[in-house]
């Protein structure tokens, strides 16, 4: 369980995040929705420790991160993986080497075990035939799946996904949704999904947070989201309401 309390963040004099408070329950997928520039990526970077908030507290494992030493913080954050918006893959390495990288560099596993693990992960994301491609030879959807496999490689307890399905075709998107759900169901991973695609969000997640210009507009379930009277939330979800209804009826 992760708790954020009154998080503020500034770039220069511009306040990007204002008094963000919410919690991320363990073992579930929490979705953060919001238009471009609303501060979603910034929020994820704060969670990973790449950015320091100007004010507020982050609690992980019942401990306030601010009170911990650097090594203790690192210890907790090593259980966390992030899938960056652009993938952030090592473009001088192949697909296989990218996925093997954390296993080799951080855990110094023997090569035989790394082979096994990487093959399993590439299978999972459906890239078993792309192992020897370089990153530049991969399409956007493939790159995102490599990034996801690389994040899974560390066996994290928490995974943050930054718009993993943006700009992808429906099939690639479905695949990624499957991967996210697989981690949740098989390994009980806590996930935070940042997206502005409601179809993706409704498929994998039950809990939604809407961010608008650095503020939380909404925090609740799917039903509450579609019923929300907030005009910004309404505008954001309007086009997808039909999708949600269709999904809803197909599930019941």
């Amino acid at each position: 369980m992760i708790i954020l309390k009154n998080i503020d963040f500034f770039y220069g004099d511009t306040q990007i995040l204002k008094n963000i408070t919410f919690d991320i329950p363990a073992g579930e997928v929490t979705t953060i929705l919001g238009p471009s520039g609303s501060g979603k990526t910034t929020l994820l970077r704060i969670l990973t420790g790449l950015l320091e908030p100007a004010g507020g507290e982050i609690w992980m494992r019942e401990k306030s991160m601010m009170t911990l030493s650097k090594t203790e913080q690192e210890h907790i954050r090593n259980k966390m993986a992030i899938v960056f918006q652009n993938g952030a893959l090592f473009d001088s390495l192949t697909v296989w080497e990218n996925v093997a990288f954390p296993l080799h560099e951080r855990f110094s596993m023997p090569l035989a075990i790394i082979r096994q693990e990487v093959d399993k992960l590439l299978d999972l994301v459906g890239l078993q035939n792309a192992a020897d491609l370089t990153i530049n030879q991969c399409s956007g959807g493939m790159q995102m799946r490599v990034a996801i496999a690389r994040a899974f490689a560390c066996h994290p307890e928490i995974i943050l996904y930054d718009e993993p399905t943006s700009g992808l075709d429906p099939i690639a998107r479905d695949r990624i949704c499957d991967c996210i759900q697989n981690q949740q169901f098989q390994h009980n991973v806590t996930s935070v999904l940042v997206t502005h695609q409601l179809a993706t969000a409704f498929r994998v997640s039950k809990r939604f947070i809407c961010l608008y210009a650095g503020e939380i507009l909404f925090d609740g379930t799917a039903d509450e989201l579609t019923a929300s009277k907030n005009p910004y939330v309404q505008r954001f979800i309007q086009p997808s309401k039909r999708v949600y209804r269709a999904l809803d009826s197909s599930l019941t």
Partner: protein, 258 residues
């Protein structure tokens, strides 16, 4: 007037901030140097890129520099009728003077902008952030191996360069008919003490250390896309050349006053 004052104040603040960042960076690099180097493979890779990749151009440059110094010196000495001193005069200026500086300039012009551009584009595409979130220290993984490699490679290449320069200098002497190659070499080496040799190598070590560290810093501080990478690479190249000359001036003025 007020505006100018404001501007100067801002610039000064920026410079102080930059110096502070640089000091922090150097501190982290030094700390990581003394921890066990885990990344042996990266170290050897960089030695390969830096050393083996530079050897040919260093040798070619050495031949040219040796020949030029020898010809110029010969021309000067002739006007005093002192051609027979050619070996002694040239040896010293190659071993102590030109060798380390030229080598450092050539190697740096290959290495520094490339290093800054590589690290910069890793920074821009968030690959460095990715390392951090995987619990891998980017300084230890990316920068320390480069700096340690430069510690070995700059002196080694300086030696290669110096040998090439002495040989080509001797060849010029031989062809001009003033001295034989063997006599040129014997006399030039007789003039060079082991202290001079050490001095030259020490200069090479300092050049490599300073220049590669700064190139890494320029790279890792890049922000803002392709233009940022360009700025970082340019800065690394310019800093390298200026710093080599400045340090050479400093080291020479200390060395020659004893």
């Amino acid at each position: 007037m007020k505006q100018i004052f404001f501007e100067i104040n801002n610039r000064l603040k920026l410079i102080v901030l930059e110096l502070q960042e640089l000091t922090l960076f150097i501190g982290r690099v030094i700390r990581s140097l003394f921890r066990r180097p885990r990344y042996w493979k990266d170290l050897f890779d960089h030695m390969d890129i830096l050393g083996v990749g530079s050897i040919v151009i260093v040798l070619i440059a050495g031949c040219c520099v040796g020949a030029i110094i020898s010809m110029e010196t010969l021309f000067q000495l002739r006007s005093y009728g002192a051609q027979s001193f050619l070996g002694r005069v040239t040896g010293d200026s190659i071993v102590r003077g030109a060798g380390p500086v030229f080598t450092a300039m050539i190697v740096s012009s290959r290495i520094c902008p490339a290093t800054a551009a590589e690290l910069g584009s890793m920074q821009v595409s968030q690959q460095i952030d990715a390392l951090v979130t995987m619990g891998i220290d980017p300084i230890r993984k990316l920068i320390t191996p480069r700096i340690i490699a430069s510690l070995f490679i700059y002196p080694a290449l300086t030696c290669a360069h110096t040998v090439a320069a002495l040989l080509s200098g001797g060849l010029v002497a031989e062809l001009s008919g003033e001295l034989t190659l063997m006599r040129f070499l014997r006399e030039s080496l007789a003039e060079v003490s082991s202290g001079d040799l050490l001095w030259g190598l020490m200069k090479a070590v300092v050049f490599g250390l300073v220049v590669v560290t700064l190139a890494c810093y320029s790279g890792i501080r890049v922000s803002g896309g392709a233009i940022g990478v360009r700025k970082g690479a340019t800065r690394a190249a310019v800093n390298a050349i200026l710093l080599i000359l400045f340090f050479d001036f400093l080291v020479t003025s200390i060395g020659r006053s004893f």
